[in-house]
């Protein structure tokens, strides 16, 4: 059953037996495929007790957690390598800095997770999102320069033009930088890159190389 092909609009199963995963939609209590691709069914992994259960003050009685339903989804991996994915809140993205302003750094999002995007989405990193500590003493031009490649995380869908990104953790920040002299630099400390030929250091918000 794993590799059946799904055409948009193809009936996959009743929505009482499956949970809709990506690439499917529900219409009149039935699950239909909404993307051209191959059907994959993910069995629910055994649920470990979810942390301290929040005290539910809602009156609605806490329903008995019936056995979790398998998730059915249609994935396009088979079709073409170009898979269009929208940056979601929480995704780790790679982007290139396009413009620096005192109040924000404008970037073009190139890669979401591990899928390379065809279209380029615009993102914005605000000074208060650059690092977790001493948020108010951050200067943008000491953190990013146009042309740098930055690994960041999407924190919100943002306004109509751009997504809001943040580099507030150690493994986020600039991963590739070119110096004024035009050579590729390598990181020397958490806030400096060095140009191998000229030996000069430039300030950046450096991502911890792992």
């Amino acid at each position: 059953m794993a590799q059946t092909i799904a055409i948009p609009g193809q009936l996959l199963g009743p929505s009482s037996k499956y949970v809709a995963g990506p690439g499917t939609h529900i219409h009149e209590a039935n699950l239909y495929s909404s993307v051209l691709g191959t059907v994959t069914i993910a069995q629910p992994e055994k649920k470990i007790a979810p942390g301290p259960a929040k005290r539910l003050t809602k009156i609605a009685g806490l329903p008995s957690s019936s056995a979790q339903l398998p998730t059915i989804s249609v994935s396009r991996t088979g079709i073409s390598e170009k898979r269009e994915v929208l940056p979601e809140v929480g995704n780790v993205v790679l982007c290139r800095v396009t413009r620096i302003q005192p109040r924000q750094a404008t970037v073009a999002i190139l890669v979401v997770g591990d899928t390379v995007l065809e279209a380029e989405w615009q993102g914005v990193i605000r000074p208060q999102d650059v690092r977790a500590t001493e948020k108010d003493k951050v200067k943008i031009y000491e953190s990013f320069r146009p042309g740098d490649i930055v690994r960041a995380q999407v924190i919100s869908l943002g306004d109509q033009a751009s997504y809001y990104l943040a580099t507030a953790s150690n493994d986020l920040g600039v991963i590739m930088a070119t110096s004024e002299a035009g050579n590729v630099m390598y990181p020397v400390s958490w806030k400096e890159y060095r140009d191998p030929e000229t030996g000069l250091n430039e300030n950046r918000k450096v991502a911890k190389p792992f």
């Binding site: 219409h27 929040k54 979790q68 997770g113 899928t115």
Partner: protein, 438 residues
């Protein structure tokens, strides 16, 4: 840009409320302004307001939208295809009746169209004496719509223009009225201007105003004979109506009407220009003359163009309408689905998913017994980049933009409701007849 020009800012909750009240079955839809499903908003109309035109009309709806239509006519030389000479010199021996130029081909080639000759095979009422076919072409009518705030090549305006033109030209009756002789014909220019900003979808207003303007249009009386250069009587009082009138007041004008190709018996109730009605469906209810708010929650919307043909015209093909029917004999001219703006409205967030209402994205437990609302169960932390807003069953009361199209039966029912005896189309036509045409 959906065909309604302005976006109405209604919140998902308002949309859900409106959709709920409009799709009630038992007492029938409850409309925000309390009208019955087939009740039209009052309108004030007058004709003959522009002295410089052959015919003009102005209609103002209750909600303040207003339109003005001016009709001007010019005499134009009919282009003659070249091998007309060849044919006429060798005598047109049994030239196979070239297929009727389908009136749908809006982009007509003015110059020779070598494969299909343009002459339209008007076989039915063509006067027997002249074996020459009456060459009519849809290009004799030019209609332009002007909506404030929109460019005239804006796709919404073009859609309106082609719908109104289509209604006029669909059956080819109208174009035959513009025929003077084999060498000349009338060229009619209709300029439709929406004066007020488009508060609701302007289609019905524009089509009713065009209807009145065409009814009031008068062409100077032809004095010259068959194929001579046309000479007209310059006494405007003697001008003949485009749509010959059967009532007594202008009897003298109609019986002197020149030999018109479609001179069906003058005494019979004359045919009337087409009207286009906007019909909307919410759930199973069919609603007419929708206001802007109602259209914002429509599941589907259809524009139906209907015209009243002279009832005496015997239908060559299908069984004729029983004679005892009421006086109106309606023709369906064109139907188009309109893309309802409801598809562009933002979706509401059901409680089960809405963090504010403690429905948690990560709750392992499906919420209460509502159909099968089961929120995503992946662990909340790093959401899988592909995870979309979780696909949930439609929750009653939560607005979701309608997906898919309209059922086949629903579309048929909407059109039937317009055409049925004593239905909405006849009610509108009666209303329009009341307007005294100066």
């Amino acid at each position: 840009m959906s065909s309604t020009s302005q976006h109405l800012l209604l919140s998902p909750a308002e949309l859900a409320y409106l959709h709920g009240s409009l799709s009630l079955i038992t007492p029938g839809p409850i409309r925000p302004d309390g009208r019955s499903p087939t009740q039209f908003r009052p309108l004030t109309a007058e004709t003959g307001i522009l002295p410089g035109t052959n015919g003009s009309a102005r209609i103002c709806f209750a909600d303040g939208t207003e339109a003005v239509v001016g009709v001007k006519a010019e005499v134009e030389k009919t282009p003659v295809p070249p091998y007309e000479f060849v044919a006429s010199t060798e005598g047109r021996k049994g030239h196979s009746s070239a297929p009727k130029k389908s009136s749908r081909k809006s982009k007509k080639t003015t110059t020779e169209d070598e494969e299909i000759s343009m002459d339209v095979d008007e076989d039915d009422e063509e006067a027997a004496g002249v074996n020459e076919k009456a060459r009519v072409s849809p290009d004799w009518v030019e209609l332009s719509v002007e909506i404030p705030g929109l460019r005239d090549d804006d796709s919404g305006t073009v859609f309106l223009t082609s719908m109104l033109t289509e209604a006029l030209l669909a059956d080819g009756e109208f174009v035959k009225k513009l025929w003077i002789n084999r060498r000349f014909h009338w060229k009619l220019y209709l300029d439709i201007i929406l004066i007020s900003p488009p508060l609701s979808y302007p289609l019905p207003l524009l089509s009713l105003t065009t209807h009145l303007a065409l009814l009031a249009t008068r062409l100077p009386r032809l004095k010259s004979e068959a194929d001579e250069d046309p000479m007209f009587d310059d006494d405007w009082a003697a001008a003949t109506f485009l749509y010959p009138r059967q009532d007594t007041t202008s009897a003298k004008a109609s019986n002197k009407s020149p030999k018109q190709p479609s001179a069906a018996a003058a005494a019979a109730p004359a045919s009337r220009p087409p009207i286009t009605l906007l019909v909307m469906a919410v759930g199973d209810n069919i609603i007419f003359d929708p206001s802007k708010e109602e259209l914002a929650v429509a599941d589907s919307a259809v524009a139906v163009s209907v015209a009243e043909g002279p009832s005496s015209e015997t239908e060559p093909e299908s069984e004729s309408i029983p004679a005892t029917s009421t006086k109106r004999n309606l023709h369906l001219l064109s139907v188009r689905t309109i893309d309802p703006p409801s598809r562009l409205t933002p979706p509401g967030v059901p409680n089960s998913v809405n963090a504010a209402a403690w429905g948690t994205m990560t709750a392992a437990t499906p919420t209460t017994t509502t159909a099968a609302t089961a929120p995503a169960n992946e662990s909340g932390a790093a959401k899988h980049p592909d995870a979309r807003v979780t696909e949930t069953e439609d929750v009653v009361g939560v607005w979701k933009a309608p997906r898919g199209g309209a059922k086949f039966g629903m579309l048929g029912a909407m059109v039937a409701k317009v055409l049925e005896r004593g239905g909405v189309a006849e009610e509108v036509l009666d209303g329009l007849e009341g307007v005294d045409l100066t």
